[in-house]
């Protein structure tokens, strides 16, 4: 056992015991359990706040058990909890107890993207008039920092939508599904369904392709209208 006067050793013992059934030497089990519960419950609630539909889909008790396994394996790496959970979708993909729910990780990716959009840097919208040039195909668009592109082999967007408060019930479509996720200037996070062509166009615009290249094989007009309607184009340049 570590010497009792060594602060670092004491904290290492305390930390290790937070994830084990027994308290560190010399400490009362019931009192130590208050800290263990605070740590585990606090992290579970933080994860549930970021992934509310995953909690709905799994049920509160199973979600809490899942969160505990995730938190022990992937604890937050900084006190900024709004940055915690990037690894949750990939974790669900490899978590045997949810292997029968193959769409779950994509729902988690959608919820993670919503959180990133909510906290993304602010941006000012470009003037759409800048598109009114003789040949717009060589123009490049800088998207607002909140813009995220999302896709799934499964109808995971429909599943997410069905689990919003007050959403109507109904048959699910077949997959795959695509979406744009972003924050409007009024701070709403929007989830807009896209068709496969618009989704590919969005990905190419985001990677810096000029409009003519990004729009290859699809009509970019509905996507551009959507981006301007939500004021998601930060700059237009040559």
């Amino acid at each position: 056992m570590s010497p009792p006067n060594d602060h670092a050793a004491r904290q290492a013992d305390f930390h290790a015991a937070l994830w084990q059934p027994r308290p560190p030497g010399g400490l009362d089990p019931r009192r130590f359990a208050v800290y263990r519960n605070n740590v585990q419950h606090g992290l579970t609630r933080a994860l549930a706040a970021r992934f509310p539909v995953i909690e709905t889909l799994l049920g509160a008790a199973f979600f809490a058990q899942t969160a505990r396994v995730f938190a022990a394996a992937h604890p937050p790496q900084s006190p900024v909890l709004l940055d915690w959970g990037a690894a949750f979708a990939a974790f669900l993909d490899g978590f045997p107890p949810v292997a029968h729910l193959p769409y779950l990780a994509d729902v988690a990716r959608l919820e993670w993207a919503r959180g990133r959009a909510y906290h993304a840097a602010d941006a000012v919208c470009a003037d759409p008039a800048a598109l009114a040039v003789a040949d717009p195909s060589s123009l490049r668009l800088a998207l607002a920092p909140s813009v995220r592109s999302w896709s799934s082999r499964w109808p995971a967007l429909s599943i997410w939508q069905r689990n919003q408060p007050g959403a109507p019930d109904g048959p699910l479509p077949g997959g795959p599904e695509y979406a744009l996720i972003a924050r409007t200037p009024g701070f709403s996070v929007v989830v807009e369904p896209l068709d496969p062509g618009a989704h590919a166009c969005l990905d190419r615009l985001a990677s810096g392709a000029p409009l003519g290249v990004a729009a290859r094989g699809t009509d970019p007009t509905p996507l551009l209208a959507l981006l301007f309607r939500h004021q998601l184009i930060a700059a237009i340049g040559a």
Binding site: P4, N5, H7, A8, R10, Q11, A12, F14, H15, L18, G26, L27, D28, R30, R31, F32, V34, Y35, N38, V39, G42, L43, A46, P75, P76, Q77, S78, P79, V80, L81, L82, D83, Y118, H119, A120, A121, D122, P145, S146, R183, F187
Partner: protein
């Protein structure tokens, strides 16, 4: 400018519109630093708007000042950025630890009070104040455990930290009551020993009771109204200090605005009763 010697509330986004329209006695708001460390969006916009009307206290929960390991420089830099962006009237943190290695544990964990931990904490407080360029307040914890190796009382420990670093203290009266009940001491004795001169802010909050009689433990939940014995201790403190900025902390099961506003009003009334009365 320090915080005004009035009532304040822990800000929750659900109350944003009502605080602006119906602030009642609210003289300042307080937020947890780590919730405002995203790049942009609504959190910063709400804080900007509220700070136009109210003084702002930034309350950190992530520095792990009581940790044996060095402070997280990245986190200190984030704090520096947040304070530069919002220019709060006050910054405070906790006598606790919450990180181990790279892992953050999301709770305020207890530590023994020894010469070794005192030296470590004083170094950390010096580093925080030097980096942030402002005096910070350090808060007394609510604890469920004590350590046999402690050689300092908590009040003497806090007095030493304030004396050696020049930091101020944040006196959480609910924490005093919770610790007193959990460790079976008289909260009035603790408060009689508490160094009140460096106190720059008071916290009040609700707690839960776990167990019965002999095995009773109080849990610092921030999920209920302030308990009557805590109000009574608060009035005793004010009688000695005169008016102090006093925060109602209600972080879980957050109530409707009128309920929180009424708690703030109760604190404001007690503060106002001590104005123009010479402190004892």
């Amino acid at each position: 400018m320090p915080l005004p010697a009035r009532a304040g509330i822990g800000f929750k986004p659900a109350h944003f519109t009502q605080i602006l329209q119906d602030p009642g006695p609210v003289g300042f708001i307080e937020v947890h630093a780590e919730n405002y460390m995203g790049a942009g969006g609504a959190p910063h916009a709400m804080l900007d708007r509220l700070h136009a009307d109210h003084a702002l206290s930034v309350h950190g929960v992530g520095l792990s000042i009581g940790g044996a390991q060095p402070l997280d420089r990245d986190h200190l830099a984030r704090l520096q950025g947040l304070l530069a962006r919002h220019r709060p009237e006050s910054f405070s943190e906790h006598l606790a630890w919450s990180s181990h290695g790279a892992a953050w544990l999301n709770d305020l964990l207890p530590l023994p009070y020894t010469d070794q931990t005192l030296a470590t904490i004083c170094d950390h407080v010096d580093q925080v104040q030097d980096t942030l360029g402002m005096r910070m307040l350090l808060e007394n914890p609510a604890t469920y455990l004590t350590f046999a190796e402690s050689t300092w009382s908590e009040t003497d420990f806090l007095r030493q930290i304030a004396r050696r670093t020049g930091c101020g203290l944040l006196l959480d009266v609910n924490n005093v009551f919770v610790s007193a009940m959990n460790h079976r001491f008289d909260p009035l004795d603790y408060l009689a020993e508490f160094p009140l001169d460096p106190v720059g802010e008071i916290h009040l909050a609700g707690h839960e009771v776990d167990g019965t009689a002999d095995d009773r433990l109080l849990i610092d939940s921030h999920a209920r109204p302030v308990a009557d014995p805590v109000w009574s201790l608060f009035a005793d403190v004010l009688a000695r200090t005169g008016p102090l900025p006093t925060l109602i902390e209600w972080d879980n099961d957050v109530p409707e605005w009128p309920v929180l506003r009424a708690e703030a009003q109760r604190a404001a009334t007690l503060i106002d009763e001590t104005r123009h009365v010479p402190a004892q």
